[in-house]
Symmetry: D2
């Protein structure tokens, strides 16, 4: 089958063997859409090459990538009977398969599962074979390009859960990419006030306003901290989400945090980046700093929340699998909120 693979360097559409159901608990899915996550960029930049070597990929071997996809069930294993799945069902999926047995799974912390299987097969190919646990049915009338966003939505929802927002909380978001635009909508859905997006790209600021931001700040053309303090009457924001991945943005985010506020670092930063946390300031600010890793226990709510989210700007940049390079280039241009590969056309 065709699969977009990481080739060390670069990505290509490659023919690889079609996966087949190997255990009775598995389900085979024909992929409809698969989208690019910012972490894929870190991968194709080579940051995970050591890991790939370790798990057995030799030079020249294609490495299937991607972990955001939707599609249609084509086969169901004999013991995959819990969810009532059958051929033809529209589904989305979660890329992590948790063991359910280890210390962390038994402790209610699946995100740290010691036996997690995360990357058995990439999402950017024609077919995937998944454990039934990972497959989630969506409504028959749910468009599959929208359903493709369940995974990024789930992890953003977890970030919102952990920030303990309440109606009227003042919220700022740094970065208007896919994650930022989901966090924006989720913050709005959580009753945020003075909802502010900090983003240098003009088009993305306009999209942010159309998705519910009350304010946007261009950090390249003004003093972002000053502007943020002006918006909040000098109090700062109750919660700030850093989703740009830029070092300078981290400092801005910390400075615009209200006393008693939450700061969530949501992006993947360059390896080894250390944020200098001023402990004297932090003490008086009584802040909380958090990160979010994976999204366990979230999919039922994430699927319910798909209906609450405007995904128009997430599904309007589709590329054919054979144009995968153009798709990645478009993502790297920084303009699209989300880039998606369309596997529905033959």
């Amino acid at each position: 089958m065709k699969s977009i693979c990481y080739m060390r360097p670069g990505v290509e559409l490659i023919d690889i063997p079609e996966p087949e159901i190997a255990k009775p608990t598995q389900v085979k899915v024909k992929v409809a859409y698969a989208s690019i996550c910012g972490s894929n960029i870190h991968t194709i930049k080579g940051e995970a090459d050591d890991h790939f070597e370790e798990v057995g990929y030799r030079e020249g071997m294609p490495i299937p990538i991607g972990h955001e996809a939707s599609g249609t069930v084509v086969a169901v294993g004999s013991e995959a009977t819990v969810k009532g799945l059958k051929a033809g069902d529209k589904v989305t999926y979660y890329y992590n398969f948790y063991c359910g047995k280890c210390y962390f799974c038994r402790n209610g912390q699946e995100q740290f599962c010691l036996n997690v299987v995360s990357d058995s097969c990439g999402a950017m190919g024609e077919y995937m074979v998944l454990e039934e646990q990972q497959v989630f049915k969506v409504r028959d009338d749910m468009p599959l390009d929208k359903a493709c966003l369940a995974e990024p939505l789930s992890v953003c929802m977890r970030g919102i859960d952990l920030a303990e927002l309440r109606v009227g909380s003042k919220v700022a978001i740094s970065g208007g990419g896919g994650v930022g635009m989901l966090l924006l909508q989720l913050a709005k859905l959580s009753g945020a006030s003075l909802l502010t997006v900090i983003e240098p790209v003009e088009e993305k600021r306009q999209i942010a306003l159309s998705l519910g931001a009350a304010f946007v700040i261009d950090p390249f053309s003004c003093d972002a901290v000053g502007e943020a303090m002006r918006i909040t009457g000098g109090l700062g924001y109750d919660a700030v989400f850093e989703a740009s991945g830029a070092k300078a943005a981290c400092t801005t985010c910390y400075k615009i945090l209200s006393r008693g506020g939450f700061l969530e670092f949501f992006a993947i930063y360059e390896p080894g980046f250390e944020f200098p946390l001023d402990l004297s300031d932090m003490w008086k600010r009584e802040a909380t700093v958090r990160t979010v890793f994976q999204s366990p226990y979230m999919f039922p709510r994430a699927i319910a929340a798909l209906d609450l989210i405007n995904t128009d700007m997430f599904i309007c940049n589709k590329f054919k699998p054979e144009d995968c390079m153009q798709g990645f280039d478009a993502h790297l241009s920084g303009k699209p909120v989300k880039v998606m590969f369309d596997f529905t056309t033959d």
Copy 2:
């Protein structure tokens, strides 16, 4: 000054002495709007008569009522300097003045303040004298009829806080009065899914839909429990708010609660009403039952949230103070979401 007073029985617009600043920490406010709360109805039905006798009201003495109002500052005591209030400022108020010293105030539970002063002067008169603690400035461009809703909004926000909603939580609200319609909007602002309002009055169901309900149920013309379970795919709601005050509705609310769900009794029920809690069922359901009493620590966020709330249907039923009987009759008809008295016209 003119004041709408409870006369045991009935309400009348009565001339009573205008209150004056008696302590340097006080602020005098000219009332613009004052609205009817369901609890006022309990008062004029005589349910608090014993209390009034106890605190010194003799037969025939007018009893000022009301605790939801907005207005304009007319005088500021010499020690009321914390909030920068000055004559002409638009304000709203919270009817409870907390002592800040007792066990509960020091324990972070102002709502149980042992020295609370709640009803020094009713809100339904031309002037109020308040402690600075109770007075909250609103933006200059905030309409005062909207600002009048800060108190009911604050208590509904507290109810929402205590229900631990998350984006995607399934929520139902029983009763489409002022409280129900605020809870509805706050639940929507909290990311509720399958948001359902149960309300027998057709006009109110229409308003509920216009304010964001995804479903409405008429409990008089259909099997409300069956309908609710159909909407939720047999799972029930994660949070149910009972805001109708009707006994039968309490049972419905319990039955449509999901496993692990929250049930909040938000109305004032007839004195002595005991809800029969089936402990065997409750055990398997692992439900949480809560009530909400007052709204301490809420006003800064409530005022921020005024901008997030559609109040059109709350401010469209205004009466002149001299037509107070008609105003109360309108409330009792069950049609208006909210009834308001307009003290701005001379």
Copy 3:
């Protein structure tokens, strides 16, 4: 093998087929100790007879019972490799096997798992075959009679978690049986102050004092509510756990609850018992009422907490399996904190 079975009516030690590993994910355990839970009494009173008929038990068929046990691994399935279990390991177990796939498991609510397998084999027999998920290794030097208490400890810990205790919270416990005595110790371990146990049996009150209760109340010889309010200076308790199963105790527990307090009904009450919740009183009290069903995600912490718990009074009432009637009679006498069957002697 020998197994204590419910015979409708009565319990008997019966010869039943020894279970064998049927799936590669399973583990076989030789039981050392199995203890009586209050819910077993409900079973042998016939309250679950309809259920047993439904799942296929015909008249006269022995029904294996029990869900609290410890023992030694005797065989490990070829795919039961996550926990490093091997023959000879000391273990305890959790009687529920969760599917990990259904709506509730994926929603972080294993306690409501739609495919839970709870009673494949009773704990009160010589051998059990369990899924690896259910088996938990304990330290080599952990006495197995103590390890037998992991399950009741886990469910009490969940009750304590849900009550949101903080150091200095005032806590009362109604009922000094196994559950009450564990709640007592856990409340103490949570920093409870004025820790009070309400229990009519003199011996149990003495044990409660020895395990850390600051006060005990005999509800049969004094006005329990009055006494509780005296102890708490009129404020009542921040959290009250009802673990006696007695109807009258439920009312006492409600009345001694502080404003803003938590009331947890922890016992199994007679089918259909409805606790009359006075909504007017509840409103002013702003109480929270909860129940606790099962103990998902708890075993790693429960096993850690075994070291923090004094179990002397839980392991001092041991009976031989062939004396099972005497064991149950001892439990029914209300004197022992816990009754245990010893399967270690041949």
Copy 4:
């Protein structure tokens, strides 16, 4: 009256005017005991000199210090009637007086009160005049040296509240001074398992063991991180409290944190110290980093918790006020858990 004052440089026992009740809401207290807090050391090192200049202290003027004390009521203002205080009552106090009116007070965040009065008079003198809000009665049979510890206990309790400990949580504490030893006891009171104290002073490690630590680590003579990971079976601690103020300890604390764990920086670090937070590591660890500033809403529970705390090692280093230099030197030696000045002897 005699008062231990900061003299820029050094401390001296100085005669200063005795404070008198100036407002009817105030209470005058004769001090019995006053203790040294680590923050006093920062003061006498000159770190707050700029602040003192700003608020009007000229060179040579004595600056009263201290904020931990107990004593006896000697006079009560005419409006200080809420708490039933009368001359002769044993009391302790909280050094912050909150306005109850500003944004933060109304938002349930007294710790950020914009009008807080924190240092009207130092605690290390013969008399204090306080607002009734700040004065807390203790039981008649409570020793006043023990009562002197209410304030440090209150702030440690707040730190424990914010760390969301549960029974069985694995906890480590870095630093065995007054704060560390209170955190240790509170962690134990919260059901901590594998409770570990990291402290270089042998005497303090012994005290830690006597107060309930299960393990102690000398960071100067062994690999503290390796030792901590050995104790926790490689998992790390669910919560780590840094209370030593040492830079190197901060790094150790971060490294021994479990996945999903809480790290609280509890000490005051040298001005400008920036802790380098490795965001890549932090992401996978999904940690929470917090600080604790002040202890609002805590005193009722802190006073209840005095009975739960062993204070023997806190009250055994008493100095006469005239020996204040020796007292501070003793504190600086690092040996005593707490140093206290005894104002009870004439």
